[in-house]
């Protein structure tokens, strides 16, 4: 088994890594503070704003940004698009780490962290939260099993590897189903709040729109990651792959835009987008910068074929989905009349989780066969 990654270029303790470790250290301190003193002293959450950035970013955005895992495994294994095989393992790794961070974020956020297991035992099947907790738990296990071959190859446990390979298809299918369920259910969270959410965002189609936007941002994250890791690990850009995924992103954004505009039109809410109020500005920024702009950019062949073009468009998509989740969780909530800005501890934990994710990714890439796994295999 040949290893194509050049380990000399991959020192773990570079300047970048030291910065990551510093951010992680502040995150650990923030988490210590939160667990020692409780939510009140460590956050700016209140009865008016019960869900802060830990839910809006760590959970809602974290799950969406990790959607590359199921989209790429679907492309590679279900649709047999062999071209994308090299990015399957990095995408699974990103998703696996992403979900671990989501689980940590959830445990930090809930008021009774020691009871995190309650929903697995005390069933309440009419609760969206119950379903999301189950899906996230199961999908984390699925992702762990999907990524396990990287460990097994490293440890040369070939028999176990063959055994696990037998379950590749069932695992991929299970992962896609679980993703469909909870990606859309994060949108279903807000279905119960028709009186609270602004009509530009509140729609019966929120589950479907959360799902489609998760596919778009999952693909954008795959492009972003491929480009950034090529740059960070001094490897060649996967231009052919990026071009294809970029095209897929543009098509997904088009579908999203059609559903969004058709839904607004049918509900008669379209004029609200142009009434010049705060909500309309937020909405136009979200859809204009996060959906229309990257869709148009990626539709242009020249942009799709330039690395910086795809990178720029991917960043716009990622920003757009983050705006959408933040708008849904905070800014589109009507009549609260309360301003919220996270404390340094809240920001510390969120940034700490991102840094921890990047650090774990870096460790995995250095020590495990992750990049260009396809070449190494055959």
């Amino acid at each position: 088994m040949s290893d194509t990654t050049n380990k000399k270029d991959l020192s773990v303790f570079s300047i970048g890594t030291l910065i990551l470790l510093a951010v992680i250290a502040y995150g650990v301190y923030s988490a210590y503070y939160r667990f020692s003193y409780g939510l009140g002293p460590s956050t700016n959450l209140s009865d008016s704003v019960p869900w802060g950035i830990w839910i809006a970013f760590d959970v809602l955005c974290g799950v969406a940004l990790a959607a590359g895992g199921f989209t790429i495994t679907a492309a590679v294994y279900i649709f047999n698009m062999k071209k994308y095989k090299p990015i399957a393992r990095p995408a699974i790794l990103t998703a696996f780490i992403g979900y671990l961070m989501v689980v940590v974020g959830l445990v930090v956020d809930i008021g009774q962290p020691t009871r995190f297991w309650h929903p697995l035992v005390m069933w309440q099947h009419r609760s969206v939260m119950f379903e999301v907790v189950w899906c996230i738990t199961l999908y984390s296990i699925v992702l762990g099993l999907e990524f396990a071959p990287a460990f097994l190859e490293k440890l040369k446990l070939n028999l176990l590897l063959k055994f696990l390979k037998f379950f590749t298809f069932p695992l991929v299918i299970l992962g896609i189903i679980l993703s469909f369920l909870h990606q859309s259910s994060l949108g279903a969270f807000f279905l119960i709040m028709p009186g609270k959410l602004h009509p530009l965002w509140y729609s019966k189609l929120m589950p479907q729109m959360f799902y489609i936007s998760a596919i778009a941002v999952g693909l954008a994250m795959v492009c972003f990651e491929s480009i950034v890791s090529a740059w960070a690990f001094k490897r060649d850009y996967e231009t052919d792959i990026i071009r294809g995924v970029g095209k897929g992103t543009a098509i997904t954004l088009l579908v999203y835009l059609i559903v969004k505009v058709a839904d607004l039109g049918m509900r008669g809410a379209l004029p609200l987008a142009f009434d010049g109020g705060t909500a309309s500005k937020l909405f136009l920024a979200e859809v204009g910068l996060g959906v229309v702009a990257p869709m148009v950019l990626l539709a242009i062949r020249g942009v799709r074929e330039s690395v910086s073009g795809v990178l720029g468009a991917s960043v716009l998509v990622i920003g757009g989905v983050i705006m959408n989740r933040f708008n849904t969780n905070f800014f589109a909530q009507l009549g609260s009349g309360v301003s919220y800005f996270p404390t340094s501890k809240e920001i510390g934990i969120t940034l700490g989780l991102i840094a921890l994710g990047v650090f774990l990714y870096r460790l995995a890439v250095v020590f495990l066969p992750v990049l260009h796994e396809a070449k190494a295999e055959h």
Partner: protein
């Protein structure tokens, strides 16, 4: 002492409320709630909003009438919905809609996800933000008192008898009778009759409810139906996706050696 299983209801006739806050004080005593230091805000509502130690609150509402400022009072507490959004939102079933009417809460189940607070259309559940291991707090409709055949503490104490309590259908009929007999006195709306699918607590007012600080735009139907419309499709989605994905995978991977373990390797494992 017969156990009450028939749904109970309460009606607050706001035209009779004198703003004495007797209900607020009695509620604190009966439920052993502490107090929090308040600050003057230019409004006589005290504390400024409900919190984990305040299950019910009398709000002082200023309105204009014929160029004069008028004071109106509303009593706020959990509405005890027939189909509570909090109960459907809770992932561990900590909330229960009891047959007698009260929506009760079991703190030992609660994981503290606060979805109930997001889901409640009346913004009633409050959190113990100052505690290390907080739980949700809200009005209990004095469930134990009702179970023992007594009326809730706030109803019992109200000096002008602004609140009446009893079988829900009788209370609703009484509300309708009052509007019918005095259409000049009341706005033609029983707040809580249809809001969020109907609530155990209902209100009558002489001033339009949106001018009394009541939340407007609350849907008429039960809120849990909205999420259930999505959740109930899950079994079909799982089955459908499993079949479709397997079919696509089978068709797209035909003749692909990578798609399955070759027979000779299978043999080795057994």
């Amino acid at each position: 002492m017969a156990t009450i299983t028939k749904p109970q209801g309460a009606l607050v006739d706001l035209t009779k409320c004198i703003g004495c806050r007797g209900c607020q004080v009695t509620c604190k005593s009966w439920n052993q709630r502490s107090t929090k230091k308040t600050q003057m805000t230019g409004n006589f509502t005290s504390p400024g909003d409900m919190n984990s130690e305040t299950y019910t609150l009398v709000k002082f509402i200023e309105n204009d009438k014929d160029a004069d400022v008028t004071w109106d009072f509303i009593k706020v507490q959990c509405m005890h919905c027939k189909n509570p959004a909090c109960a459907s939102a809770c992932p561990v079933g900590a909330f229960t809609k009891t047959p007698a009417g009260p929506v009760t809460y079991e703190p030992e189940k609660c994981i503290g996800c606060r979805y109930c607070m997001m889901a409640c259309p009346f913004q009633i559940p409050k959190y113990e933000w100052d505690k290390k291991y907080p739980v949700v707090q809200k009005c209990t409709f004095c469930a134990e008192r009702i179970a023992d055949g007594m009326e809730p503490a706030c109803v019992k104490t109200c000096p002008p008898n602004a609140i009446i309590f009893g079988d829900h259908d009788k209370i609703l009929a009484e509300a309708e009778r009052r509007i019918k007999e005095h259409p000049e006195k009341y706005v033609n709306h029983i707040y809580g009759k249809e809001e969020a699918g109907g609530t155990a607590w209902m209100y009558l007012s002489s001033v339009p409810f949106d001018k009394m600080g009541f939340k407007a735009g609350i849907p008429k139907g039960p809120l849990p139906d909205l999420t259930w419309a999505s959740l109930s499709k899950i079994p079909y989605a799982v089955g459908g996706l499993a079949v479709i994905l397997s079919a696509i995978a089978f068709i797209r991977n035909r003749g692909n050696s990578d798609s399955a373990v070759p027979p000779d390797e299978k043999g080795k494992e057994g």
